[in-house]
Amino acid sequence: MKRTFTLSMAWLHSWAGLFFAWLLFGILFTGAIAVFHAEVTYWVTPEMRGQVHDDRDKAIEVGRAYLEEHAPDARLWRLTLPSEREPVVKVYWRDEKGNGTTRRLQPDTGETIQRETRGGGFFIDYHYMINLSRKDIALGPVGLWIVGMAGIVMLVACISGIVVHKRIFRDLFLFRPGASRHRSWLDAHNVLSVLPLPFHIIIVYTGLVTLYWLYVPAGINSLYAGSEDAFRREAISQHYVSLLDAPPPGPPAPMMSLPAINRQAEAQFGAGKTAYLTMRDPNRANAMVEAFRTRADRVTQQVEQIAYRGIDGRQIRIVEHSTATKIQSFVAAIHFVEWGGAVIRWAYFLVGLAAAAMVATGLVVFTAKRETKRGAPPWLRLVQAVNVASVAGLCIACAVFFWAERLTPADLPARAGVPVKFFFLSWLACLAHAALRPPHCAWREQFALAAFLCFAAPMLGGQGWLHLISWDTTRLFFDLTFWIFGAVFAFLFFKVKGTPTRSVHRHELVA
């Protein structure tokens, strides 16, 4: 396109990078937070208590009792056992119209947890579809498509970045914070990009191929006559208990004791290794119970599943995964990281934040390079405003989400959507603020706000003290992380100083 390949790649890297960086910072930042999605849900739901509940039989009975009371006629139940990260019983059922309902129960008393929240699930949803699902836009999963495009562009940016950055090995560790403004930001961008480069490329690729059939439904259209359900049943076995061409429910018949079925399953999975049980046509003659193994101790996204007959616990089938499925399961697990324990999760979190920082430094490099030229182009002002909003504004929006979770009353009906609304409203406010204020003021003020929100978040509702008194280590680490983020934002606030070009922007505002 340009005179040489390198120049074309430099152009592509800058421009595709600019537009998609606005999206990618949010995707990467929420992705890093989403690594701890269970801990987020745990933190925003003070009703969850951290004691390890060993009595799995009791938990199953509690869940079953609730389901029998509230959804006796539903054709599909799911009962998720308490785990170390989420010490609650989750029950889910689907009604005739196909709408699902989820409730959380205390594993020992069966008491319902009133507080409805999307918790960590919101960060996952933002990360992979910017919270725009088929429910919001009838056209299709538009958010998913946008994120998919952003993923491809990030891969393109990584490749073009390698082409442009000639001295990739010689400058591997090069970071000169004292150099000229443009130079030191570029060093930071390079270091954050090149050192974790395997991570960036692998994480983006694994993210795209995890939901491969949603992005490219070619196989479904050609080989399954367009039926996604039929494909999922064969490929992912998830919908074995789906209601798709399920026989009509048989006559009522009591189901065998679920803890007994679970014990059979755990004899094969390992003690305490069942993640959840699904029940099709419960309390009917043709009831079927399927047990799914946990993911926490293996790098695999597809798990072992064993199906039993409901009335007598006879084993019907064990799902066998083909080699290709096992490989794809490994690939997906690299992205989802539900294994490995806390250390691995912290590691992914840190490198994910490094990826987000890489994108943010790239944005700063873009504007810094063009600010120093004589007569910065008029559209640069707009770019700077969007930069501030996409980086600092997004951090503020995430903090506001947590504030809204703390401050919204637990018993408010349809509560789950409220913090999400505040997330997007605050982001829009940050965009407006960034458009009205000169760039350096906008950066400073938004970082100051972000710092304040993070420092104060653990203390909302007096929860911080409770965490300390009950020595709830998960929640305490969460609070500590808030303070560390607050410190980082405060540091950035002090670092953003006025520069000689600030006066140029004032004149542009007046003109």
Binding site: L174, P196, A354
Partner: protein, 101 residues
């Protein structure tokens, strides 16, 4: 746990060896250029340290988890620490890696 911490430290020393094998960073840390023999030694010992770190890490977890996590995060995070160290406290970075001029 101790094995993993030691593996992290070895990754750090391995990576800083590679960094110090470059003139730019050797000057930052020690104030003098690196000679050819020293370059070879730093790179060789760096490779050995990295391989040992990988081995220890994989041994403390399992092959799949170990390989994936070492490649995707141990290496980048330790690399970022080395880069930051060389930028702000180069001499200290080298000392922690048990390297002297």
């Amino acid at each position: 746990m101790m094995l993993q911490l030691f593996s992290l430290y070895m990754t750090y020393t391995g990576l800083s060896s590679f960094a110090l094998a470059m003139d730019k960073h050797h000057v930052q840390a020690f104030g003098e250029r690196v000679g050819p023999g020293r370059t070879r030694w730093l790179r060789l010992s760096g490779s050995i340290l990295l391989l040992m770190a990988l081995g220890l890490w994989v041994w403390s977890l399992d092959v799949a988890m170990g390989l994936v996590s070492w490649l995707l995060w141990v290496l980048p995070i330790m690399g970022l620490i080395v880069a930051a160290g060389l930028a702000f406290v180069p001499r200290f970075t080298a000392t922690v890696a048990c390297r002297r001029p």
